[in-house]
Structures are given as structure tokens and as C-alpha cells.
């Protein structure tokens, strides 16, 4: 470093005068100096205190072997889940009910981030490191095969375990290689929302959707036609798959993804068309669920594709579209009701759980996926039940009729490809979908490229 050319200036330093005059600067210098010293001392002692606390609190065995029994002799079961959003009491009493029925067991809830990605990352780090906790945990529907393959889920039974009790699409998502690995907790399905004041009848085909949207747009300048999620993320995969299924695509042999089938190309062509022709606004290519919901809620669009969560806010007090919204199945080429993508979460067991906790964990799993629990989740937290019987329960039909009315739509939902390679593929697939949707490449080229990448990642077809 270069030294200054002359010895450092000592005495007067006009810059130190400070703003606003001598009185202010004196005040500031006194106050701030004293304050600063105090603050520094406080921070230093806080830091030392924390270090001391942590040093004392450090457990002798490391995190990999947590104590099985608490000081009071209770068996502790750790449940990792995302916050449910809503009143705290109903879920808490659900857990207390469990603890009453199983004396000697205490449930500890660990909250995870709601963003699917972040939770996945947390699990990857934890389970990859061989963690024995949590004992019961939530997983996204698309993670099942991967977790099962990695040995992070305990097998619960054969593939007939859940049939009849749970919705067929939910069961599809919970089964892999003829075994059941987790129990569906609550589900989600892609829906078509529409403005009933502009389009009284639900469109059955893509053409009908476009025509009715354009007719409404002609009457009102500034109105958008169709809002959906085109940002490069998992939501785009859902939208794209729905468009592909709507054009007759199936997805390929079980476990494999066929991206460049004619139906897939048709589906992506439709999506690209909505943006290119102005039916959907330019913001669609960076829109996620909230952007679409807010746009629709402001009265700015005729149609929207979104999850059921949006309904509550669209019908809330003060919403400009309150009372003017209808929900239906997504359109298809043929006019038959379309299949929404299945979303939602499952509950699974950690096979590396401590021996003493296994029984209690299984019991907790059964309790949380019982009909009672499903009703509680539906009524208080607006979670779509995965169990068939919850839909006809009078409490559900009474308190949340909208959710109850979704049963036919959610029964027709389709699971995304169940393959352990899903996470590996998701990335390549999102890239090629985004290429097609933004017009970087023609749908055929984009999907060919995606198929090539998918094949490379999964290895040659068997």
C-alpha cells in the first residue's frame, strides 16, 4: 500500500466539525461517544454471554443421537411440518388429544419454511447427514420416490394399504414400486378460476376459453385474458403438464418422462400462444401464484389458473371480485374435463428414528391422517382433505362448502411423474418449458432438448 506523501496531518481536521454547527456536533459527539461505548460494551458482553450459554448447553453426545427420553420420562416424538397458517389452537388440541390417548408421549413440533425448495434443502442436508430426527415429517408429493429410493422413508405396507380410504391420485403419489411409503396429509389441485360476470359458463375447450376471453377483453380495455404461472420454477411444470394432459398427453411409461410427444408439443404451443398473442400479459413469463392471484383479484383478468388457496382471498371482504368468481376444471382439446396437477403434502416416518420412539411415531402418523384430523385441517386451515370420507362430513360441508365442492375436481387430479429422478429432472424440464414459453426456442426444439437432457440424466431407457 502506498504511504501518504507527507506525514499525516495532525491538528486541525475541518472534516471532523460535523454537520449542523458546533452545538449539534458537540452534543452528537458526547452522546454518540458515550452511547457507542455503552453499546460496544453491551455487544461484547452479549457475545460472551451467548458463547458461554452455548458452551454450557452443548450436549455431550452430538446431534446424531438425541436423548430418547426427556427428563420427565416422556418419550419425545419430533414432528417436522410447515406452519399451517390460521388459529393455533385447533391443531394444538389435535396434538394434545394424541398425547392424552398416549400417556408418556410428548410431541415436539419443528417448523419448516413453507417454500418447498427450502424444506427440500433442509431435508437433504439433515437426512444426508444421517439425522435421527425428525421422527415424523412432511414431504411434498413429488419427493416421495426420491426419498424412498434414498432410504429416508419407512415402508408402511403394500400398495393396497390406502386404496379406498384416500383419493386415488393421492394414493398414486404415495406408492412406489408396489409399496406405500407415506400417507397423504392434504392435497392441492390446479383449477380454472373465471369471472362469472363476464363468462357465465365454464369453458370446456381451449378454443372456448380463448374466444370468451377475447370477447370480454373487447368490451373492456386493459383487461387480461388468462393468467397463469410461467416463471421458471416448479409451478411452470404444473401448468405445462396440465396443458400437455389437456391435449391428450399421458406422460410416458410409469417412471419415465416423455417430453417430446406430439401432445406435449401441442400443449407447449398453446401456452406459448397465450403469451405471444396477447391473451396473457407479458408478465406471465415471470409470474408465480401470487402475481396471478393479485392480478385476478384486482379485477384485471377473465380467467386464472391457480390452486384452491386463492379462493379464500378472492372472496374476502374488500376484494373487488367478491361474489363474481367461479371455479371449474381446466379446459381440454376434446372438451372433457381436464386434469389438474396434484399438489399437496404427505406424512412419512424416518427409518433411522430411535427404537424407543418408533411405536409412538407410527401412532402419531395414524392420528394425524385420521378422519378427525382431516376435518380439523379442512375446517380451520382450509386444507383439502386427502381422505375420501372427510368430504362428506357435515362439518366440512357446513363450514367450508367450497372445499367440499372440489371433491370431483380433486378426484380427477393427476400426479406428476412418480420417479426417484424427479428432483434431478425437474431442473432440466423447467428449463426447456421456460424456453418454449418465452419463445427462446420453438416448442418442438425446446422439448427435444429437454428430452435429451432427461435421457442423459436418467440413463438409457430400459
Amino acid at each position: 500500500m502506498r504511504q501518504p506523501a507527507a506525514p499525516a496531518s495532525s491538528a486541525s481536521n475541518p472534516r471532523a466539525a460535523g454537520p449542523g454547527g458546533p452545538v449539534w456536533s458537540r452534543l452528537q459527539s458526547c452522546a454518540s461517544r458515550a452511547l457507542r461505548h455503552q453499546l460496544l460494551r453491551l455487544l461484547l458482553s452479549a457475545a460472551l454471554a451467548v458463547a458461554g450459554l452455548e458452551a454450557c448447553r452443548r450436549r455431550a453426545p452430538d446431534d446424531a443421537d438425541p436423548p430418547a427420553k426427556e427428563a420427565g420420562g416422556d418419550v419425545r416424538v419430533v414432528l417436522a411440518m410447515q406452519p399451517l397458517w390460521g388459529p393455533a389452537e385447533p391443531f394444538r388440541s389435535l396434538l394434545r388429544e394424541f398425547e392424552r390417548a398416549h400417556p408418556g408421549v410428548a410431541v415436539e413440533v419443528r417448523t419448516l419454511p413453507n417454500a418447498s425448495d427450502l424444506t427440500y434443502q433442509a431435508f437433504l442436508t439433515a437426512f444426508g447427514g444421517g439425522a435421527r430426527e425428525p421422527d415424523v415429517f412432511v414431504l411434498d408429493v413429488v419427493w416421495l420416490a426420491g426419498f424412498a429410493r434414498a432410504g429416508w422413508l419407512e415402508s408402511l405396507g403394500d400398495d393396497t394399504l390406502l386404496r379406498g380410504t384416500f383419493l386415488p391420485s393421492a394414493v398414486d403419489a404415495a406408492v412406489w414400486q408396489a409399496r406405500t411409503w407415506a400417507i397423504p396429509w392434504f392435497v392441492d389441485v390446479g383449477l380454472l378460476y373465471r369471472r362469472t360476470d363476464l363468462v357465465p359458463d365454464a369453458p370446456a375447450t381451449f378454443a372456448e376459453l380463448e374466444d370468451s376471453a377475447r370477447a370480454a377483453m373487447a368490451t373492456r380495455p386493459g383487461l387480461q385474458g388468462f393468467l397463469w404461472q410461467g416463471r421458471q420454477y416448479e409451478g411452470l411444470t404444473c401448468n405445462a403438464l396440465e396443458a400437455i394432459w389437456g391435449h391428450g398427453g399421458e406422460g410416458g411409461a410409469p417412471g419415465r418422462l416423455t417430453l417430446n410427444s406430439p401432445e406435449a408439443i401441442a400443449g407447449l404451443t398453446w401456452l406459448r400462444h397465450t403469451v405471444a398473442s396477447g391473451l396473457s400479459p407479458p408478465s406471465t413469463t415471470s409470474a408465480a401464484e401470487e402475481e396471478a392471484r393479485r392480478g385476478f383479484q384486482q379485477g384485471g383478468a377473465v380467467f386464472m389458473r391457480n390452486w384452491p388457496y386463492a379462493w379464500a382471498q378472492l372472496q374476502a371482504e374488500g376484494s373487488p371480485v367478491r361474489g363474481k368468481v367461479g371455479v371449474s376444471a381446466l379446459p381440454t382439446l376434446s372438451g372433457a374435463p381436464g386434469h389438474g396437477a396434484l399438489g399437496g403434502w404427505l406424512l412419512g416416518l424416518n427409518p433411522r428414528s430411535l427404537q424407543e420412539r418408533r411405536e409412538a411415531s407410527r401412532a402419531l402418523l395414524a392420528h394425524l391422517t385420521s378422519k378427525e384430523a382431516a376435518v380439523v385441517l379442512a375446517v380451520h386451515y382450509a386444507r383439502l382433505p386427502a381422505r375420501e370420507d372427510a368430504y362428506s362430513d357435515p362439518r366440512v360441508t357446513g363450514a367450508v362448502p367450497f372445499l367440499a365442492s372440489l371433491k370431483p375436481l380433486v378426484s380427477a387430479a393427476r400426479a406428476r411423474p412418480v420417479t426417484p429422478y424427479y428432483s434431478l429432472l425437474a431442473d432440466a424440464v423447467q428449463g426447456s418449458f421456460s424456453s418454449a414459453v418465452t419463445g427462446v426456442a420453438a416448442p418442438r426444439e425446446a422439448l427435444d432438448e429437454g428430452q435429451r437432457l432427461a435421457d442423459a440424466l436418467m440413463g438409457a431407457p430400459p
Binding site: M1, R2, P4, A5, A6, A8, S9, N13, P14, R15, A17, G18, P19, G20, Q28, D117, Y120, Q121, L124, T125, G128, G146, F147, R149, A150, G151, G230, R231, Q232, Y233, P281, P282, S283, T284, T285, S286, A287, E291, R294, G295, G300, P420, S423, L424, A426, D427, Q430, G431, S434, S435, V437, T438, V440, A441
Partner: protein, 291 residues
């Protein structure tokens, strides 16, 4: 005390001075970095429990990976443009803040706000600002039917704007600290000699500020080459992977695909690239010291 003995004591003391820092670095940083390096020589996909030693296979794959090449070029472009703009903006800001004026303390604090906000939050703010439907920017910019964050080509520049907004304060702070080190006497003497403002700037300020400028450049470039948070929140690497920098690609490979072997190899190569840039800077720094 003889010269040799004094030197030896000083040397021993020097080692004591430096020991804590070295211990912390070795214990907490060196081990994971070496572990990552070790991982890069394996084919390790977490979900499949695969762990096979494959030597340099991952690196050979990287050489053929067009997506990686694209990410590399993109990252270099991003860093070059962002750091240049930041420096050009930060210098006038630092000069401005250096002057005595009313409200200077407040101004200094205010200038640091963009940098004080967590990146995940500021990226979200800019995401809303860029939104073509209700964001502020499209209303201000003319002829903007373009969705900045959803159009390939534009999205990367939107990310650059966010990065510039966020880190210009950091560079300004470093330059300001450097300005403090320039003695007032020099300016006084030069003004007595009749030097104008421009001469003061180019003959005194800039040369003496060089060390600070180069230091700021060094750390900013290193950071810009590893940018992640801002881009992730803004676009997650989209649209169509056009904002995918090296870190974003590595993140997706490591923590989405669970492909630890390949992801670690990517990180090692990123590290080598960053180190190469660092070495170039240090050469220039060293040359600056000579001149």
C-alpha cells in the same frame, strides 16, 4: 538487544499475533473446503446413495457441459458490467459524502440502506418494481411492454441493476474510508499552487485512492462472480436459464438434484476462475504499489 535477537522475538510475537486467525480459518474453513474438493472426485448422488470414486470424470464432464460454459460466460459478463457501474457510481458518491455539508451524517447512514437490507428482501422489492402490471419502473420507463424479468436478455440486466443498487454503498464506504486517509495538507498546498478542481481530482485524489479502489474492485469482483441470493429471489435462474450464473447452476446441481459430486466439481472450477481473477488483480495491485 542485538538486531538478530530482536528480529527473532518479533518473529515469535508475530506468529502469536497471527495464530488465532489461522486457527479459526483452518478449523472451520479448510476442512469443509477440502471435503468439497474430495467430493468432486466422486460420483455422488445423494438420493441414490451413490458414492464412487471417479477421479477427474466430473471435470471432463464440465469441459463438455454447454450449460456450464454458458453460465461461466454469463457470470463473467455480469461481474464485469456490475462492478464497472458500481465503481463509476461509488466514486462520485464517496467524493460527495466526503465534503462537509449539513445533514452529512444522515446522508451517510441513508446511503448505506440498500446494502443493509437483507438481499432476499431487496430482491423481492425489485421484483415488484420490475413487474409490468403494477411495478413502478415500467410506468417510468418509456415503451416498456417488455417484462424485464420474464424476457431472456433483459432479465440478466435487471439482475445487474439490483446488484448495483445493493452494493454501490459498500464500494462507496470503502472509497470513503480511503479518502479519509488522504491528508488535507496536500490539497491545501496544491490549491495554493493554483490547482483547479479537476487537477486536484486527477493528480492527488485518484492516485492516492488507488489502493482503496483496487481493494474495493478485488472484493467486489470476487463477490460478483459468486452472486447468488439476488438472482435466486428475482428469477431462480430463469427465464429459460438466461440468468443462471455459476452459483445458481451449482445450487441447482447440489441442493436440488442432490448431485454432490458434480456440484462440488462445479464449485471447485468456480473457485479456480475466481482465484485466477484475484491473481490478476493482485498483480495490478502490486504494480500499483510500484508505480
Amino acid at each position: 538487544m542485538s538486531l538478530a535477537r530482536r528480529l527473532r522475538t518479533e518473529r515469535a510475537q508475530a506468529i502469536l499475533f497471527v495464530a488465532p486467525a489461522v486457527m479459526v480459518l483452518v478449523a472451520v474453513a479448510l476442512v469443509p473446503i477440502l471435503a468439497a474438493l474430495w467430493l468432486s472426485f466422486h460420483r455422488s448422488i445423494l438420493l441414490f446413495g451413490e458414492r464412487a470414486f471417479v477421479g477427474l470424470d466430473n471435470y471432463a464432464l464440465l469441459l463438455r457441459d454447454t450449460r456450464f460454459h454458458a453460465a461461466l460466460l454469463r457470470t463473467l459478463y455480469f461481474a464485469a458490467v456490475a462492478v464497472t457501474i458500481e465503481l463509476l457510481l461509488a466514486l462520485p458518491i464517496a467524493l460527495l459524502l466526503h465534503r462537509a455539508m449539513p445533514g452529512r451524517g444522515f446522508l451517510r447512514a441513508a446511503v448505506l440502506i440498500p446494502w443493509a437490507i437483507p438481499t432476499v428482501v431487496s430482491a423481492r422489492i425489485w421484483g415488484w418494481l420490475f413487474n409490468p402490471d403494477y411495478g413502478l419502473l415500467p410506468r417510468l420507463l418509456p415503451a416498456s411492454d417488455v417484462n424485464w424479468l420474464g424476457t431472456p436478455g433483459y432479465a440478466l440486466h435487471a439482475a445487474i441493476v439490483v446488484d448495483v443498487w445493493k452494493t454501490t454503498p459498500f464500494v462507496a464506504l470503502l472509497l470513503l474510508a480511503g479518502l479519509q486517509g488522504i491528508p488535507e495538507d496536500l490539497y491545501r498546498a496544491a490549491r495554493v499552487d493554483g490547482a483547479g478542481r479537476w487537477t486536484l481530482l486527477t493528480r492527488i485524489t485518484l492516485p492516492l485512492l488507488m489502493p482503496a479502489i483496487l481493494l474495493a474492485l478485488l472484493f467486489r469482483t470476487l463477490d460478483a462472480l459468486r452472486v447468488f441470493d439476488a438472482i435466486w429471489v428475482l428469477t431462480e435462474g430463469g427465464p429459460a436459464n438466461t440468468t443462471e450464473t455459476l452459483s445458481v447452476y451449482a445450487y441447482k446441481t447440489l441442493l436440488r438434484a442432490g448431485n454432490f459430486g458434480y456440484g462440488s466439481a462445479q464449485s471447485v472450477v468456480t473457485f479456480l476462475v475466481v482465484m485466477a481473477v484475484g491473481v490478476i488483480y493482485l498483480r495490478v495491485l502490486g504494480a500499483g504499489r510500484e508505480g
